[in-house]
Each structure stands twice: as structure tokens, then as C-alpha cells.
Symmetry: C2
Subunit: 212 residues, 2 copies
DNA sequence: TTGTGTGAATCCCTTCACAGCG
DNA sequence: CGCTGTGAAGGGATTCACACAA
């Protein structure tokens, strides 16, 4: 299973799954690669190539079964099982993420929240009590955490991620605006909101010409 | 100025700028492409290639002037001027974004916040009063908004973005977990947090083998 | 006939390697 | 010398085009 699947392919698989789920709700049973691509932002050939990396799921002359394909994608993406997630950092971003419905809906259960602020430790959030970040290693082990979401300040992030990694967690989603360094076997994704804004700013500045 | 610069190049320019700013603070005056790459996650050749798309900023045998290069990058990225940002959606994500220091620090000023919830309209957030989303078009014009941040529920996002675009705004940062469609001349970036988690889930599932 | 699965062609991005300037 | 700037080579990812299965 250690095929080398590109980042963009994975992103597209997620998209396909979303579209399939929409179609599923509407009771549509069969879909062509053309239709699947049309909704998204890619081509029919790309859809077929992406899927062919994992097997042959379509029927020639007919298309794909919405039910089957969405089940397959869920399995491929690991969404056929619940994941246990810990949230480190109970600040504003942390609390927004904690309440983010889309995570729950997709099977990501935030089973513990940690923070280093004594004013927050012990506070109850829903059915989770905020724990002391000093106990990070114990909590990750006790709660059998699969994925850590980092929502700590930038200057603390590298230190925290090292503790997370040495606790054996193999997947980290980083919201701190810092480039983190982790060993190769750990999956790390960055959500860098400022950098996205900067890309927009670049586009605007390029339109206007320099210094406009 | 309408060169076709790839998305990845822009992302790296942002990174370079961050590193340069760190070095600037530490009083370092000159840097080689090697050093600039080492901090990040790319190669010296890549750094030189990226920069060469815009001009010749280095001195052979010496490297790059930290001061000059960071000023240049700021200009290229459009960070040499303030941008006026409107935030649509004053829910949890919206409020986290409103308080996000990194935006302010980089010159993105949130000059207005809008929501459709009557319970929120009129509420004061810092020096901004939440306005009625019904008045979106007027507010965008009055406040001369350059960039809109969308933090509304997924099913409202497409409708809102169409109103935003028809008001003449040319840059949108979307936090709704929905694929939006906008005309080609509008710059759109998505921050899809669930999809990032799904990429992690994929990596874990691939490690464990299917169904583990 | 329709629409998949897939080699081949193409395009784009990254890496190499080195000429040339300070 | 040291390090940039850049053509050329290499490698991935996307697109094309078509044989083939339903």
C-alpha cells in the first residue's frame, strides 16, 4: 500500500468524495467521470487517472456507481473508521476548531484538549475538560490519540511538535504560522492562513502593477 | 506584470520573506541562497530560480542583502501597502480570524465584519461594529474593500461569493468547506481544514494497511 | 454506442551544472 | 575564489487519444 500518491491526487479524492456524497443524497446512482469532473475543477481524464491508481471501479459504457465509489473513497481516505484527535492550544483558533462541525461529521473526534494557561486548565468544553499541556505525553498515550491538531503560538510550535512526535503520534495538523520540522515517517500538514492571504495580495499587486 | 508565476513559487516567496525577517531581526546583513533554502524546505537552486523570475537581486560571490531582498519580496507580494479586508461571517471561525494577530502584522486590516444573524448585527467587535449581511454590496463599496474573507456556512458560500464578486472585489479567501465558482479574473483561495485532516487520515490508513 | 482504463505525448516544475561576475 | 543567474536535463503530473468492455 506504500504507493507514492501525490498530494494533489489526495486533495482531489477528497473532493470527489464530497461530490459523490451530494449525488448520493439526491438519489443518483451512476455518474460518469465527465460529470464528476464537471462539478469540481478538473477533467474527466484526471478523474479516471486518479481512480485508476487504486483499481478499476467503473463500468465501461456506464460510469461509476455512486454508492460503490463513495464507499471505496471513504475506505481509501481512511474515513471508514473514527480517528481520535487531540487539540493542543485552547485559544481562539483552538476553540473555533473544537466547535467545527465538519470535523465531527467526517469522523474526527476531538477526545482531548490541552493548554498551558492555568486559567484555562480544568475548564470544561462540552464533554472534554482542558488538560495541562505539561501532561501532553501522558494524555496522548491514555487517550490513544491518532492525530494532533496544533493551535499554539508560533514560537511554541516546534517544541510542542517534538514532544508530540516522540510520543509516537504520526499525524499532525499545524495551524501555527511556522515551518515545523518532523521526521519523515510523520505526516504533517500546514494550514497557514496568512500565506493564503499573501497569495491574494500578490495577485492584486500583480494586477495593479507595482506600487499602485 | 502578468507573468505566470506558479502557486508553489508564491508560497515559497512568502516563506523566504519570513526567514529574511527573522534574520533581519538578528542583525544579519547578507545571506546565500544556500542559507535561505536550509531554513525552509527547499534547495538553493530553487531559491535562485524563484528569485530570478523577478530580477537579479543577489551579488555574485556574496549572496543577497537581507534588507534589500526582504523589501523586494514585500513589494512583490504586495505587502508594502495595507489591504482593506472584510470578514463575512461572525461565527466561531470568523471571530478567531478577526483576532488573528498575524493578519494585522502583515498589513491586512479587517475594516468590516458582516453577518446575517440578527442577534449579532450591531454587536461591537473591537472598533468594528457587525453589519447586516444584507447590506454587503454597500459596505464593500463604502469601505473600499480589497479582499473578502468568507467564513459562512458551506451552503451559503456560493451565493455570498457571487454577491462579493459582482461588487467588484477581486480577491476572496474562502473558509467554507465548499468548492466555489468565480470568474477567472477573481483570485480565490480555499482553506479547507477538513481536507487537510483527510490527507492525514489517508497517510495513516495507508500505513496501517486497509481496514486496520 | 457509450464511457472506462491506460499507454503515449505534452507540459510544467525542479534539479543539475557551469559560465561569469564581484 | 564564492556564489549568483540560467540554459539544459530530468522527473512528475496532466492531457490526449484510442483500444476495448458492457
Amino acid at each position: 500500500m506504500a504507493r507514492k500518491i501525490s498530494e494533489s491526487t489526495i486533495r482531489r479524492l477528497s473532493l470527489y468524495l464530497r461530490f459523490l456524497e451530494e449525488f448520493e443524497e439526491r438519489g443518483i446512482e451512476t455518474l460518469s467521470s465527465e460529470e464528476l469532473a464537471g462539478r469540481g475543477s478538473t477533467t474527466a481524464a484526471q478523474v479516471r487517472k486518479d481512480l485508476s491508481l487504486f483499481g478499476s471501479f467503473g463500468k465501461r459504457g456506464l460510469g461509476y456507481s455512486v454508492q460503490e465509489l463513495s464507499a471505496t473513497l471513504r475506505r481509501l481516505l481512511g474515513l471508514d473508521r473514527p480517528w481520535r484527535v487531540a487539540l493542543v492550544g485552547a485559544g481562539r483558533i483552538g476553540s473555533a476548531l473544537f466547535a467545527y462541525d465538519d470535523f465531527r461529521r467526517r469522523g474526527f473526534r476531538i477526545v482531548s484538549v490541552l493548554d498551558s494557561d492555568p486559567g484555562k486548565i480544568g475548564t470544561q468544553w462540552g464533554d472534554v475538560r482542558i488538560q495541562d499541556e505539561a501532561r501532553l505525553e501522558q494524555v496522548l498515550a491514555e487517550e490513544k490519540v491518532d492525530i494532533v491538531i496544533l493551535a499554539v503560538p508560533g514560537d511554541a510550535a516546534q517544541h510542542v511538535v517534538e514532544r508530540v512526535v516522540s510520543s509516537g503520534v504520526r499525524a499532525v495538523l499545524n495551524f501555527a504560522p511556522t515551518k515545523l520540522h518532523v521526521p519523515g515517517q510523520v505526516a504533517l500538514r500546514d494550514v497557514n492562513m496568512s500565506m493564503e492571504l499573501e497569495a491574494l495580495s500578490f495577485a492584486l499587486a500583480a494586477d495593479d502593477g507595482p506600487g499602485a
